[in-house]
Amino acid sequence: MTTVLVYADDAALRDELVSKAVGLGSAKVATGDGMGLPDEDSMTVAAGLAKAAANVGADLVLVGATKKGKDIAPRLAAHMDWPYAGDAQGVEGGDGWTVARMVLSGNSLATYRMGPKAVVSVTPGTFEATGASAEDAGAVDGVKASPVKVTGTRGREADGFDLASADVVVGVGRGFKKQEDIALAEDLAKAMGGAVGCSRPIAADLKWLGEEHWIGLSGHEIKPAVYIAAGVSGQIQHIAGIRGSKIIVAVNTNKDAPIFQIADYGIVGDLYKVLPALTEKLR
């Protein structure tokens, strides 16, 4: 019998993973409390999960790919000396484990065949929570406290701003000539009830907008109903962050900009004219 151990530091994600795990084999779920760990630092959880996996005879450990999960999972894989697939968007059993995950800076979906024992971290939202439950994996002994001492916390600068939850996103790219001109994107976003995002150079190099606005592989992945890319050329890392958008609109003076290849609707034109006109009509 195949045994699947589940861990996620987020309850909703844990439910998603348990729902999947019960279809793959005998499911067990480990929690920080249930394992009786001295603390819940990633080092400690990874070491605890290695013991829990051995205790229940796990063949697969599914870890929720939150920030913390992505820290824990590869350490767990090293403790077990098992292969690891991170941020998976699909897991199937059969002959070993078959896992799908994005590679090449988010531009291609690779399928990996893994051996009979594996650690996989799973992107939130990959599986549907069905309300299935799993038995607790139980307590583990002898896990040492983490040497990492947390002396303080720092929230991300934009408290409350959440680009990922916006229904409409207007993306600011290098086509904007001055920081003040971002007002054109803000006006359109306001008229459509949306938020302003941006490409890498605007956040990382020019710092015209904070990182909370950054769309792309290193920034935020967005899935709005409409994404309007204004003066965004469409670098491959940016595209990785907007692929989930329902409708993509591109405004760019360069007809050959790669952004048009991934757009549903495009206007070849000057954003300085197009955005105010759009704002006026959509207000």
């Binding site: 690891y84 979906l109 893994m114 991300r156 290193s218 609707y265 495009g266």
Partner: protein
Amino acid sequence: MVKIAVLVKMSPDVSQLKIDPSTREPRLQGLPWKVSDFDKHAVEAAVRLKEKGQVQKVVAYTYNPGPQGANLIKEPLAMGCDEAVVVSGPETDGAGTAKALAKAIQADGGADLVFAATESLDRVAAETGSRVGVLLGCPSLFNVQEIQGVEGGVLKALRDGDPSEAVEVPLPVVCTMNDEINHPRLPPLMQILQAGKKPIHQKTTADLGLADDELARRMEQVSNLAPKQDRKNILFEGDDAVDRLVEALRKEGVA
């Protein structure tokens, strides 16, 4: 003496990647290779600590650096690494790569700090640094956003999270990082020229006492395709472009 081992990976330049429109296969052949982008941020972070006098030696380690490796390894040296260790061995997976790198670091007497990119351009696996931490028996900080410094055998850093955490960790420790942490320098010509004279040590996994079966792949890529993009690709040009776009958005029910 405080020593940093920086893990450096060479990767095809994914920013120049083209997707075959008919098969959706990424065309990797013929792409130039480069030092994987985030790794330069790890090199930069290490070199800055050396410049501050908190670290005395920075050594770059790479495993199977690919067809242009002999040339590319000079880049971290030009940026300020003192030496490089190039390890060659069988094609392997992330577990095997971490074993080879950890063994190479141990063979040199270990390191007080190991800096690595959170993830690479090509495989985006985000596992090597964490695995090396476990193999060296030390903690790892995933996606470090700031490094305050190293003093009295303790690293102070800001670790990514919700919220981010200011942490203190006794050495040795592994840190992984991405492009948030700094802006890597572009080394001046003199340093590029001098980089060729810095020591580059060639080693094999056999030299390091690793048998090929310890490095055998346990995960194999069986397919790799760009996601389907069913986009309408409708372009509006001319004076009524905005009107036609608004009309289209209204039909979609989103305006």
